[in-house]
């Protein structure tokens, strides 16, 4: 097997004094969609941010495209074309949609900006209509699309998506999942996404990981995980309470 694009080995990370990751191992191969599911507070978002160097991993190693990025700072990691649409979307509220997209292209070659912009806007026509509006005035769904569009502006090798469907109407959520599938199928984009909506995420993903209390407890293909009784019980049939305790 070829070496994975992103490889996380024994990573431990803390938020303040709370240990959020207790030794996580995980691989993402080129061209895959990988979903990470788990209950609230399991450490999913922390893992996403730790891959981007904020907070830094206290122990373990993270390798991206053959390079050890464990000790790099966040902006240096971004320059390796690892982009993230983070938890809460974090649109720059007092900048226009276009400026948000320009910021997304910070690490990209300026010569390719126009072509890239067209490509991204074709994927999210609703964002294209709002180009000169301030980011803070967009609806939740539009902000999520903008967050993904902004991440795509760097032409990433790996796209991290943190809860892309959170708080969105089912129809909008489906549009976003469709866009992810299209990107993966047509451009071979590698995607690593965190989702609470486990059913949709596992159907979309080639492979999935289940995280409980800062540890990976299960992994397998999306379909396999959907069939697993413990996944069904905990994440698919309203059994979240049981999973947490």
């Amino acid at each position: 097997m070829s070496t994975p694009l992103l490889s996380v080995r024994g990573v431990k990370a803390y938020y303040g004094r709370v240990q959020a990751l207790k030794g996580v191992d995980l691989d993402i191969n080129d061209g895959e969609i990988v979903a990470l599911i788990g209950a609230n507070g399991a450490g999913k978002s922390t893992l996403m941010m730790t891959v981007c160097g904020d907070p830094r991993a206290r122990e373990g190693t993270i390798t991206f495209a053959g390079q050890d990025i464990t000790r790099l700072s966040t902006h240096q990691i971004a320059r390796l074309r690892l982009a993230q649409a983070p938890e809460g979307r974090r649109i720059f509220p007092r900048m226009t949609v276009l400026e948000n997209l320009q910021l997304g292209a910070t690490t990209a070659d300026p010569a390719g900006f126009e072509t890239n912009l067209e490509r991204v806007l074709a994927l999210f026509p609703r964002v294209a209509q709002r180009l000169h509006q301030r980011g803070g005035t967009l609806s939740g769904g539009e902000q999520q699309m903008l967050a993904i569009a902004r991440a795509l502006m760097s032409s990433p090798r790996l796209l991290l998506l943190d809860e892309p469907s959170l708080g969105l109407a089912p129809l909008i959520a489906r549009q976003i999942f469709d866009a992810i599938r299209t990107l993966n199928a047509q451009e071979g984009l590698t995607v690593f996404l965190v989702e609470q909506n486990a059913f949709h995420a596992l159907r979309l993903a080639h492979r999935g990981y289940v995280m409980v209390n800062g540890l990976i407890t299960l992994s397998g293909s999306g379909r396999e995980l959907l069939e697993r009784p413990e996944v069904k019980a905990a994440y698919l049939e309203g059994g979240r309470q049981r999973a947490a305790h």
């Binding site: 700072s73 966040t74 902006h75 982009a83 974090r90 720059f92 900048m95 400026e99 910021l103 910070t106």
Partner: protein, 305 residues
């Protein structure tokens, strides 16, 4: 009426200087949420650099062209002051980032004391003066016995301020650096995620703030012809007042606030008591903080969650 027009002219001139300093307060506050109490002394230091440059130019090189010497003074002051402010940020503020909120503030007060004492020790405690660089004036109109004038010095100050504000606006609104600065101001974590070097952007902010303060310092020396080591504090606090009045964090607010403070101070001196002009300016600070804490152009302090 003539007297009033004359005071407006004088007030706008003074206000230009305050506005340029106020931008430094507001920019730094916008990006790292800290009131840089050393900024007034950075301004004072720049005035000394301009003064020393002038003396070197005239005595050592015998340069007599006013335009050339003013230009060299401006560039030298901007360059060295930027370097000083860059070093201050690196040494006194950056190591404290992520520490408790009061720590960089205390450090800034320390730097303020350091700068004024350093200048006092190295340049002496007395006022330093230079002969008038620019003389002459336009008589706008003459009514009865009182001529309303616009001096060449004032024209230069208005002109340089206008050009620099335009350049500065362009930098913030239209360039990559300006965009990065605004991004860091709004969300540093996200700025880093898109690949912006936040530390470098903050350093650039200090450099720009210092360069604008140095323009103010050079014009201060040209306008008044005299500067002392203690001249950082009062203009500094007035420029800070201007920034608060305009709405701290707002760049147009800093400029408008500067002009207003300049006008208030000048008109107060003209019609009331000149001895209490500082009281007038600082009353504005108190009144603003009580009745309009977010300032004229400021955003109300609400976090959208």
């Amino acid at each position: 009426m003539d007297y009033f027009v004359q005071q407006i002219i004088n007030g706008v001139t003074l206000g230009s200087i305050y506005g340029l300093i106020a931008i430094g307060y507001t920019m730094v506050f916008g990006i790292i949420g800290m009131v840089n109490f050393a900024h007034g002394d950075v301004f004072m230091t720049s005035a000394f650099i301009a003064l020393i440059t002038f003396l070197i130019l005239t005595t050592l090189f015998g340069i007599t062209s006013i335009a050339v010497s003013l230009f060299i003074m401006l560039i030298t002051a901007m360059l060295f002051t930027s370097l000083i402010n860059w070093a201050i940020e690196r040494i006194a503020y950056r190591p404290l980032r992520g520490s408790f909120r009061l720590a960089p503030l205390i450090s800034a007060i320390g730097m303020s004391i350091f700068l004024s004492n350093f200048v006092q020790v190295s340049q002496g405690p007395l006022n330093k003066s230079i002969p008038p660089i620019v003389q002459g004036e336009f008589v706008l109109f003459r009514h009865a016995s009182y001529p309303v004038t616009l001096s060449y010095k004032q024209v230069i100050i208005w002109g340089i301020t206008a050009v620099l504000l335009a350049a500065f606006w362009f930098l913030v609104a239209r360039t990559r650096l300006g965009r990065a600065q605004r991004a860091c101001e709004q969300d540093q974590k996200m700025a880093a995620l898109v690949g912006i070097d936040v530390d470098r952007t903050i350093a650039a902010t200090f450099v720009i703030a210092a360069a604008l303060a140095a323009v103010a310092g050079t014009m201060y020396v040209m306008y008044y012809g005299v500067v002392s080591f203690a001249d950082g504090f009062v203009p500094g606090v007035k420029a800070f007042t201007a920034a608060v009045l305009g709405g701290i964090g707002s760049l147009p607010g800093a400029v408008v606030g500067g002009l207003l403070i300049g006008l208030i101070e000048t008109l107060w001196s003209a019609y009331f008591s000149i001895d209490y002009k500082d009281v007038a300016a600082f009353s504005v600070l108190a009144i603003t903080l009580i009745f309009l804490p977010q300032g004229l152009f400021g955003r109300p302090d609400v976090e959208k969650v």
